[in-house]
Amino acid sequence: MNAPILELTGFAQDPAWLPWAVQYFFLVGISLGAFLLTLPHFLAGRGSVEAARAALIAALITGIAAPIALLADLHQPLRFWRFYLSPNGSSWMAWGAFFLPAYVGGLVAYGWLALRPAFAARAGTDLPGRIAGLLGGDGAPWPQRLKAVGVFTAVGALLVALYTGAELAVVAARPLWHTPLLPLGLLATAIAAGAGLATLLTGDPAARRLLGRAVATGSAAALLVFIAGLLAGFAGAASGEAQLALVAHRPLASLLLVLLLAAPLLLIGRRQAAPLAGLLAVVAAWAWRWELFMGGQRLPKSGAGFYDYAVPFGTEGLLGVLGSAGLMVLIALALHAVLPARAGRA
């Protein structure tokens, strides 16, 4: 019988990417997923205006919050200008520094153009009403400008999806990330969660039905990616073996993730359950990224076993997660204050 190798002295490494990275990938993923769902209505005039507006609000809330989470993940956040002063063209992260502001800037402009009539309808004498009046102007729609900015932002969204996926997938040193399945999983969960958050922001049954289909489609695709990863592990692929190892190390977390991905599929068709399905898709997208980032960094590159990681309570951990959630709520409240309650009133 072969006795195992015993590691007598080990040196654990703390994760270089903090929970802030999870928050960034979560927020920007939801944002671009939700944004893409707005395009059929605002660019082609198809689909539900309620669904498109809810998805747009979801994209704005998360898209504006995302860069702040990214900045917070830098250990030297005040040096962010270095990304623009001395970019390294061989780094996906360097490209992301240009794609992200292009997307977020485009998204804000697109949101303003799309919601201009709604802002005008909300104009009033109170402070939010005065701000809405300024944003809305005469309230006349600008369809050509909206389409042009929409196309620009769509390109930005696809580039952000590309760079966020590639940034991880090129890291050969982390087998869990080094797979073409990774960008697909991020995109699938992003669309499910984008639609899911939008479902929570609308009470319109037709919109919820439409968004519910996107939630189910994204969740099903993510589930397939997860299963494909496991099968790749059984076939001997390094990335799949890393996924299998992580599943074996954290069976409850993995089971919870699978249940979260499967739940929207089980709830599809149940009208009253649409918000629950949406919420679960949002939680699934977060859990996916948590396992990917924090779980992936638990796997030592050289040593045996796993690195331990406990979420700290401070800004590098729980407070960061709660803080970015609070920021989302703040942005949501600000938007709520300057918009009428329903799109139909615009």
């Binding site: 250990h75 390294n88 045996a304």
Partner: protein, 241 residues
């Protein structure tokens, strides 16, 4: 002044500054370009390593790494021998100063670079602390310095090398297991050892062409070790009073 004399004097100045402040931190932005005549590398003769961690301590003292963070460590294993009986094995780890370093292309701001003499360095006045290089290193040789908030790693004690001294870990090794020298010089100790012995790199499949080689390396330790993890994993939280 010709370039070599300027480099030499610059090296003296950097070395003196490093010695004066006791750490190279202040000199990190003036790490120089190195001299392409040299290609620095290290051979670790595992037959001589007793796993005493003197190199780990010397490195921490020389480079003022934060408590619980290390530029070099000595992993120790108990591995089954050919007859099934267990034997001890040590494996000092450090930055491999790879010829094809995967940490450099991922750095978004070009803070990680390789000198002409092969030493891979981090300009911590430019580093944004994004941690991407930490992820890209296949050897877990990098970390984000908890005090500086920038990427950190073994520099082969570049401040000492530029002053004509040996890296602190080499200087202090009680068994002379760490041998440092110029791979471009066929008469150097490292070149002679590489000619006379089979010296293996870590993770050859990673394609990074490490410039740290090991004599007497058990093949089971060459890649990621599969086995029972250590019950003791030294972390900052565990050693901070």
């Amino acid at each position: 002044m010709n370039p070599s004399r300027r480099d030499f004097l610059k090296g003296i100045a950097v070395g003196a500054a490093g010695a004066a402040v006791g750490a190279p931190a202040a000199a990190r932005s003036a790490q120089g370009e190195g001299d392409a005549k040299h290609r620095w590398g290290m051979v670790v003769d595992l037959r001589r390593c007793i796993g005493c961690q003197a190199c780990t301590v010397a490195c921490g003292t020389e480079n003022h790494t934060p408590l619980g963070q290390y530029r070099t460590v000595v992993h120790q294993f108990e591995i089954p021998g050919a007859d099934g009986s267990p034997r001890r094995a040590s494996l000092p780890r450090l930055c491999n100063h790879c010829a094809e370093p995967p940490c450099i292309p991922v750095c978004p701001v070009g803070a990680t670079f390789q000198r002409a003499d092969g030493i891979v360095l981090v300009d911590n006045t430019r580093c944004v602390g994004c941690g991407y290089c930490v992820q890209a290193c296949p050897y877990d040789a990098r970390f984000v310095n908890a005090e500086l908030g920038t990427a950190d790693k073994c520099t082969f004690c570049v401040h000492r090398v530029d002053a004509g001294l040996l890296p602190a870990c080499v200087e202090t090794c009680v068994g002379s297991a760490r041998i440092f020298g110029d791979l471009n010089n066929p008469d150097s100790s490292v070149s002679q050892l590489l000619r006379e012995h089979e010296a293996l790199p870590l993770k050859p499949a990673a394609g990074t062409a490490p410039q740290v080689r090991y004599i007497g390396l058990d093949g089971r330790l060459q890649d990621k070790v599969t086995g029972e993890p250590s019950p003791i994993a030294a972390k900052l939280a565990e050693v901070t009073p």
